[in-house]
C-alpha cells in the first residue's frame, strides 16, 4: 500500500489578512455542517494553517479544512468524500470545514463527476489520505510527549496517552507533523470501527444554500468582469453564415460582438467536446439584461450544412431498422430461432422514449479570463481535466498556464460532462480581451442539444407450455446508438437468447443523461417482464426470483454483468417492506434494476383521480450499494432519482421539426412539480459491508418500470411510449 501525498505537498503556510489566501475564490469559503433547529455558532478560523498534504490543512485551534476533490453537482460528494478522510483521520466532524478543490492532477485523481463513481473510486485513496495524516500527527505527538507512538490513541481530533493521562490536540502537533516523513504504509479501519462513515451528515453547504450565499457558477462576480451570451443556430444541421452586428453594437452597455469556433481545424478534441454548434456569435456587455437584449438585435444568416431531421423521421427510421435491419449480433445463447418456433406462447412489445434535455436548473455558464500567457476559468464543470486538455489545444497554452476552478453546480445529470461552454467562455474572453462570465439563457440551454437520445426497442419472449421462459430476443436502436446492454439481466437466466443492436447517426447531438441507456432500457425491460410474467400466470416478483435463481445456480453463458444473489436480495427486501403479498388497495407495480454497480428494487403504488390523472401514493425502495457512507445524503439521492424518473417518464419530451427543437422553456417543456411528486418514499439499504458503489443514478432507471406496471394495474392498459401522460386517458 503506497500513500498518495508526496513530500513537496507538505508546506507550512501562514495566513494573509483574513485568511483569504487559502481560497482562490473567496466565495468558496468554508461551510458549516451543523444543521439543527437553532444555528450552531460559526467555527472560529485559526490564525495560521498547517498544510499537511493536498487534502488537509490544520489550524492551531484544531479546526481542520478538508479539500473535496471532485465536482459537486448535487450528488453530495462535497460532504461524503471528506467524510472518508475525516473517518481515518479520526477528526471531530464538528470541527471540519470543507473546501472545493481546484483541478490539480498532481494531487488528485479522477476529478470527475460521472457514472456514480466518485465514492467508489475515492473509497480507498481518500481513507488512506486520512490515515496517513493521522499517523504523522501521532508520530509528532509521540515526540512532543516523549512517549512511544504505540501507546497513543486518537479520538475526535485529540491524541491521548492513557498511561500518563496526557492529551494533545491535532492543532498543537500539526506543525511538527508536517516536517516528519510520510509513512509508506498505513492500516485502515475495519468497517465496525467507523465513527463518521455510516452516520447521517448534513450537506456541508446547506447553510450557505439556505441563506443565498454565492456558490454557483452563475454567481461569480469579479472586478471588471463583463457578461457574455452566445447565439447558436436555430436548428440542428445549420451553421453560422454571416453576422451584422451594427444594431447590437449601438445598444447601451454593449462592448463587443465576437464570433468563435470551439473546434478549429487541427484542434485535439476530447469525447467531452460533444457539441452540435462549434461556431457561435457572442455578445459581450456590461449587464446580463443588456446583453440579452442586444442578442435580439443581431442580424444573423444561417446556412444548411446537413439535412434537417425530425422526431417523426427518427421514429420511422428506427421502426425500419428494427423490422428489416441487418446488424451485428451483440449476444447469442442457445438456439433462439428454434426455441421461438417451439414456444407455446410468444409475447412481443415495442417501447419508445423521446429526446430529453438535461435542464439543469442552473443554465450553462462559465467565468473565463484569458490573456496571452494565462487562462483562469471558474465554473460548473463535471470534467475539468478534459476541459483543460481541450483548452491547451484550442488556446495554445501549456497546462501550467491554465487554472480551472469548480463551483458548486446547479444540477448536472450528465449535462456538464460536455464542457463546450467552458471553451466558449475562454475563447470569448480572449477575443474580447476581458474577463467575462458566459451566461446561457434557458432557451439557449434547452435548444443546444447533448440530449438523452430517443430510442426504440423491441422485445420478444417465448414461453413453453408450463409458462417457463425459454427464449428471449431484444432488438434496440436509437439516435447515435442502441440503449441495450447485451449482458445484463435477463441474459444468463434464459437458455436461448439473442441481442441485436442498431444505431442511427444524427446531427442532433446526444450524450450521457443521468444513468445513460439504463434510464430508458430499465423501464422497457421491467415493463416487458411484467407482461411476460402475466402471460406465464406468475406473480411478477416470483417470476423474477425464479430467473435469478436460474442465473445463480446454472447461469447461461460466460459473461453476465450482475450478481443474481444481490439482485434477488433487493427484490426480496422490497417485497417485505412494501408488504407486497398483502393488498395495498392501490394499483402497484414492481421493478428491479442493476446499474452503476448498485442494485435497486422498487414497488410503486398509485391512484387515479376522477380525471384519470395519476397520483403516486408511495414508492418503496430497496438499495444495495454496499456500505452507505452518508445515509442522510444517500436517501436524498434515492428520493431525487425516483422523482426524476417518474417526472421524465410521465411528462418529459423534446421534439424536433425541421431540425428545430420545439420546446425551449418550462412553458412548453413540462417538468414534474411539487404536487405531482410521490406522497411518500421509503428507502431501505441492504447492510452487507461490501465496499460502496454508486448512488447518484441507480434509483432512477427501475422506477420507470415500476410506474409503467402500476399504470397498467390502474388502467388495464399497458403503456409503451414515453412520455406516458400522452398514453393515458383524459
Amino acid at each position: 500500500m503506497s500513500t498518495q501525498p508526496t513530500r513537496r505537498n507538505f508546506l507550512k503556510v501562514s495566513a494573509a489578512a483574513g485568511g483569504g489566501f487559502l481560497l482562490g475564490f473567496s466565495f468558496l469559503t468554508s461551510c458549516e455542517q451543523k444543521a439543527v433547529a437553532t444555528l450552531a455558532p460559526e467555527l472560529v478560523m485559526p490564525e495560521q494553517w498547517v498544510q499537511l498534504n493536498g487534502f488537509l490543512k490544520i489550524g492551531a485551534n484544531g479546526v481542520i479544512t478538508i479539500v473535496s476533490p471532485n465536482p459537486e453537482i448535487g450528488q453530495n460528494v462535497k460532504t461524503s468524500m471528506p467524510m472518508l478522510i475525516a473517518e481515518e483521520l479520526d477528526a471531530d466532524w464538528e470541527q471540519v470545514i470543507v473546501e472545493q478543490g481546484k483541478l490539480n492532477t498532481d494531487i488528485f485523481t479522477r476529478q470527475l463527476a460521472g457514472g456514480s463513481q466518485s465514492i467508489r473510486h475515492g473509497w480507498e485513496p481518500l481513507r488512506k489520505t486520512g490515515a496517513t495524516a493521522r499517523a504523522m500527527l501521532l508520530a509528532a505527538a509521540a515526540q512532543q510527549l516523549s512517549v512511544p507512538v504505540e501507546e497513543l490513541t486518537t479520538e475526535k481530533g485529540m491524541i491521548h496517552h492513557a498511561a500518563s493521562g496526557q492529551q494533545v490536540g491535532y492543532g498543537a502537533v500539526a506543525e511538527l507533523a508536517a516536517t516528519l516523513p510520510v509513512p509508506e504504509t498505513v492500516a485502515l479501519k475495519a468497517p465496525k470501527d467507523f465513527k463518521i462513515i455510516g452516520q447521517g451528515k448534513k450537506n456541508v453547504d446547506a447553510r450557505k444554500i439556505a441563506t443565498g450565499q454565492p456558490l454557483f457558477g452563475l454567481d461569480v462576480q469579479r472586478e471588471g468582469m463583463l457578461i457574455a451570451s452566445i447565439v447558436h443556430p436555430p436548428a440542428f444541421g445549420m451553421q453560422l453564415k454571416s453576422v451584422d452586428d451594427s444594431a447590437a453594437l449601438a445598444m447601451p452597455g454593449i462592448r463587443k460582438v465576437v464570433t468563435i469556433n470551439t473546434a478549429p481545424e487541427g484542434a485535439e478534441l476530447q469525447w467531452s467536446d460533444t457539441n452540435a454548434f462549434p461556431r457561435l456569435v457572442a455578445v459581450v456587455g456590461e449587464t446580463t439584461w443588456q446583453v440579452l437584449q442586444a442578442k435580439k438585435a443581431l442580424k444573423l444568416e444561417w446556412e444548411q450544412v446537413s439535412a434537417p431531421e425530425s422526431t417523426e423521421a427518427h421514429r420511422a427510421a428506427f421502426e425500419e431498422q428494427l423490422t428489416n435491419g441487418k446488424t451485428e449480433v451483440a449476444r447469442r445463447d442457445g438456439d433462439p430461432e428454434a426455441a421461438f418456433a417451439s414456444a407455446a406462447k410468444i409475447i412481443e412489445a415495442t417501447y419508445s422514449a423521446p429526446l430529453l434535455p438535461h435542464n439543469t436548473l442552473e443554465p450553462m455558464n462559465f467565468f473565463a479570463h484569458v490573456t496571452a500567457d494565462k487562462a483562469e476559468l471558474l465554473g460548473p464543470i463535471q470534467t475539468p481535466e478534459f476541459l483543460e486538455k481541450t483548452l491547451v489545444s484550442v488556446l495554445g497554452l501549456q497546462p501550467e498556464q491554465i487554472e480551472i476552478g469548480m463551483t458548486r453546480m446547479g444540477g448536472g445529470f450528465g449535462r456538464r460532462l460536455y464542457g463546450h461552454f467552458g471553451v466558449e467562455a475562454a475563447l470569448i474572453s480572449k477575443a474580447a480581451g476581458a474577463p467575462i462570465k458566459l451566461v446561457y439563457t434557458r432557451e439557449d440551454d434547452m435548444t443546444q442539444g447533448t440530449y438523452r437520445p430517443d430510442y426504440l426497442v423491441r422485445y420478444r419472449a417465448g414461453l413453453d407450455a408450463e409458462g417457463k421462459l425459454i427464449a428471449f430476443h431484444i432488438r434496440g436502436t436509437g439516435t447515435n446508438g442502441s440503449p441495450v446492454f447485451a449482458n445484463r439481466f435477463p441474459a444468463g437466466a434464459v437458455d436461448n437468447y439473442l441481442v441485436e443492436n442498431f444505431g442511427q447517426p444524427s446531427n442532433v447531438s446526444t450524450g450521457a443523461w443521468r444513468a445513460p441507456q439504463s434510464n430508458f432500457i430499465a423501464g422497457a425491460e421491467q415493463a416487458f417482464l411484467d407482461e411476460v410474467a402475466e402471460a406465464a400466470g406468475k406473480d411478477p416478483i416470483d417470476f423474477r426470483l425464479e430467473l435469478f435463481e436460474r442465473a445463480s445456480k446454472n447461469p447461461v453463458g460466460e459473461k453476465n454483468d450482475y450478481e443474481p444473489e444481490r439482485y434477488a436480495g433487493v427484490l426480496k427486501l422490497v417485497r417485505e417492506k412494501s408488504n407486497w403479498d398483502a393488498d395495498s388497495g392501490d394499483a402497484r407495480g414492481v421493478a428491479a434494476y442493476y446499474c452503476h454497480d448498485s442494485y435497486v428494487a422498487q414497488v410503486l403504488d398509485l391512484t387515479l383521480d376522477s380525471a384519470g390523472k395519476p397520483q403516486v401514493e408511495a414508492v418503496y425502495c430497496a438499495v444495495d450499494c454496499g456500505i452507505v457512507v452518508n445515509p442522510e445524503g444517500a436517501i436524498n439521492q434515492v428520493e431525487g432519482g425516483i422523482v426524476d424518473g417518474i417526472g421524465h417518464a410521465l411528462y418529459g419530451q423534446l421534439t424536433i421539426t425541421d431540425g428545430k427543437p420545439q420546446q425551449d422553456n418550462f412553458n412548453s417543456y413540462r417538468l414534474i412539480r411539487h404536487p405531482e411528486a410521490p406522497k411518500r418514499i421509503e428507502t431501505y439499504f441492504v447492510d452487507n459491508g461490501i465496499d460502496p458503489t454508486g448512488l447518484g443514478e441507480p434509483s432512477l432507471p427501475p422506477v420507470v418500470g415500476a410506474l409503467a406496471n402500476a399504470l397498467y394495474m390502474a388502467t388495464g392498459k399497458r403503456v409503451y411510449d414515453q412520455p406516458f401522460i400522452g398514453e393515458l386517458p383524459g
Binding site: 451543523k34 444543521a35 439543527v36 433547529a37 437553532t38 444555528l39 453537482i73 448535487g74 450528488q75 447521517g200 448534513k202 450537506n203 453547504d205 446547506a206 447553510r207 444554500i209 439556505a210 441563506t211 443565498g212 454565492p214 454557483f216 452563475l218 454567481d219 462576480q221 447601451p252 449587464t287 446580463t288 439584461w289 443588456q290 435542464n359 439543469t360 436548473l361 442552473e362 443554465p363 458548486r408 453546480m409 446547479g410 444540477g411 448536472g412 439563457t441 434557458r442 436524498n636 439521492q637 428520493e639 431525487g640 432519482g641 425516483i642 422523482v643 426524476d644 422553456n665 418550462f666 412553458n667 417538468l671 414534474i672 412539480r673 411539487h674 404536487p675 411528486a677 411518500r680 418514499i681
Partner: protein
C-alpha cells in the same frame, strides 16, 4: 437608461437601468445579491422568487420601473442570521441537493406561511407548485414547510 431608487432588504439602492429591466437582473447584476436565481426568465420556475411588500413574486416578471418604491426582500434579507424558521427547517430536513432552486423555494414557503400559518397538504401543494426543483427534493421541501409551520404557530 434611467436612475431608480429601489428599496431592497431594508435599504435604498441607487441603480441605473433601462425601465424594462427585470428586477431579477437589477438585484443580481447591479446590487450583487446573487442568492436570487435565474432559471427560466418567464415566470415558470420560481428560482427568482423574492418578496415584494411581503408577498412572494417572480422577480424575472417585475420590471424595475413597475416596482417603484415597493419594498423588496431577497433571500439575503429574509433573516439577519439565516435563522428564519423556514431556513432552520431547511437545515433540519437537509433539503438541498444541488441547492440552486432552494432560495426560491424558501422565499415561496416563507410567504405561504405568512398567509396560511397552518397549511394543509393541499395548501402546500398549491403554494409550492410554482417552484421547480429539478433535483426532485419535493418531499423534503414538503416536510420542511410543515415543520416550519409548527415552529411558527
Amino acid at each position: 437608461m434611467a436612475q431608480y431608487t429601489i428599496n431592497v432588504n431594508g435599504k435604498p439602492h441607487q441603480v441605473e437601468a433601462s425601465p424594462e429591466t427585470p428586477l431579477l437582473w437589477v438585484i443580481r447584476d447591479s446590487l450583487g445579491y446573487v442568492g436570487t436565481k435565474y432559471g427560466c426568465g418567464i415566470g415558470q420556475c420560481g428560482a427568482c422568487t423574492v418578496h415584494i411588500e411581503g408577498v412572494a413574486m417572480r422577480s424575472c416578471q417585475m420590471t424595475v420601473e413597475g416596482l417603484g418604491e415597493k419594498p423588496v426582500t431577497t433571500i439575503e434579507g429574509l433573516s439577519a442570521n439565516g435563522d428564519h424558521p423556514v431556513q432552520l427547517a431547511w437545515l433540519e430536513h437537509d433539503v438541498p441537493q444541488c441547492g440552486y432552486c432552494q432560495a426560491g423555494q424558501i422565499m415561496s414557503a416563507a410567504s405561504l406561511l405568512s398567509q396560511i400559518p397552518n397549511p394543509t397538504d393541499e395548501d402546500i401543494n398549491a403554494g409550492m407548485a410554482g417552484n421547480i426543483c429539478r433535483c426532485g427534493t419535493y418531499l423534503r421541501i414538503h416536510a420542511a414547510v410543515k415543520s416550519a409551520a409548527t415552529k411558527l404557530s
